[in-house]
Point group: C2
Chain length 283, copies 2
């Protein structure tokens, strides 16, 4: 057992990266072994570190974007539940997702014909290819198209009936990214989805951001979606260690879902259903 | 967005308590507003702080025992699933659990006739009554007995058929508490349980302590239990933010469970089933 004084001293060294969540009076720290990269891109400060126990770590503007150790849960839960609930998810759009982890998971589904990934910042994908090559192993899949442009403008200009599933893998609703959480944006997604299309968007922490989850659900419904469901899952290196993704259905919420026939680390049939259980305080 | 340098500075002040998880290269910090209490009990160092966003915080030997904000998930998941799966949980034993949070949840079940809480350290209960009075609101329930003695010795001396449900709400498997994770201890629990008795024990983080969960399941089976199930749930202020409790069934694992008819904050029928879904990497 460590006493708190010893702990405080340890965090005071250059060996630790800490992300403070000021609105919730807590912080997560990761022990670093080496700084691998730093760049001020046109959009944000991008840093990559090697950690002692979490594999490589990517920061954007000082916030944990992903670690090698625990990103599998997030990327699997952002993709497989929605793709498995759509009867034929042939055309998929990813807005954000520059680390390519969602792209890799989507391309595991043989039924997918093409995936368009639209992220603002090309440098994130460059850094992911260099420091998280396992996430980028499908970037050269002929079904994948990578564009680097503004996702909001992109979706507003998209034709109707363009996509079966849209995945919004964005950073927190702060600054530029706040537009990705607006009713207007959801309305544009609705228009570009095919008849029984599904939208899935990361929706922050159930413990810390309950109001955001509720307002996202309301905005999705107001944008015309027929039904909304939130998925809950652990995510160690995001605020509170507990995360969510909210799904919106253009048609009825499907009762059935396909079973995946490829390897996953977190997702399976039982998790598909379990992730939809709503804790009492969120009802 | 905060940059990492600013974050580091913040954690370097006296305003933060940090718990380092050295084996996993990470740490959780909570922002403090005031120190409320400190004592070296005969067993451990006990500290209580007021935090800015997590209510009161109790530390034992520098490790987070509970916070006012998020203990509800742990206490509900340590009690309601097991109690709801037993057809008639009249006699309940809690080993550890000195903060009385499990005791309060158990006593919400009208079917319970008596609960015996056995914790080594009376000072934990004293501090909980003073600084977490909401957890201790049922301590004077006539069905409750509080004893302060060694739980391992207690269970070894218990008569057979004494309890319908045994809840092991212990600290991490380090030092004295390691005995609460042994096959010998589970064997003693088995003996003191009634015919279809259920044992439930906290079993640490699925992400960090996968080997412990597996070995607990093995030891429970080796001790004679007929079936074993692990429950998974978020727990923000414990290592990795993701926690588990392992249940062992003396008889067959019940297929049905009772619905609770009292207020809960996390637990409900959907969560009861969802918590049993096993992530792919733990299969």
């Amino acid at each position: 057992m460590l006493n708190s004084d010893r702990n405080r001293m340890k965090l005071n060294s250059d060996k630790w990266f800490s992300e403070v969540y000021p609105d919730d009076g807590c912080a997560l720290s990761l022990e670093l072994s080496e700084k691998l990269y730093e760049e001020q891109t046109p959009w944000q400060k991008l840093e990559v570190y090697q950690t002692t126990k979490f594999g490589n770590l990517m920061l954007l503007d000082g916030c944990v974007m992903l670690t090698g150790r625990d990103n599998f849960i997030y990327h699997e839960m952002m993709t497989h539940p929605a793709l498995c609930m759509h009867s034929a998810p042939k055309k998929v759009l990813i807005i954000g997702g520059g680390d390519c982890g969602c792209l890799r998971e989507v391309l595991k589904h043989p039924i997918v014909k093409n995936v368009h990934q639209v992220d603002l910042d090309e440098r994130v994908t460059w850094a992911s290819e260099k420091y998280f090559p396992e996430l980028c192993e499908s970037n050269n899949d002929p079904r994948a198209i990578l564009s680097f442009t503004d996702g909001v403008v992109f979706i507003e200009q998209a034709a109707g009936n363009s996509y079966d599933v849209i995945i919004v893998d964005s950073v927190d609703p702060v600054g530029q990214a706040a537009r990705l959480y607006s009713e207007e944006f959801y309305r544009a997604c609705y228009s570009s989805l095919s008849e029984n299309g599904i939208l899935v968007a990361q929706s922050e922490s159930p413990l810390f951001h309950r109001d955001l989850i509720k307002s996202m659900q309301t905005r999705m419904a107001d944008a015309g979606f027929n039904d909304v469901t939130t998925l809950f899952f652990p995510q160690c290196t995001y605020p509170s260690g507990w995360w969510s993704a909210s799904m919106a259905f253009k048609g009825s919420k499907p009762l059935n879902y396909r079973t995946v026939d490829f390897n996953t680390e977190y997702y399976n049939n039982d998790i598909h259903l379990a992730a939809q259980a709503v804790p009492q305080f969120l009802r």
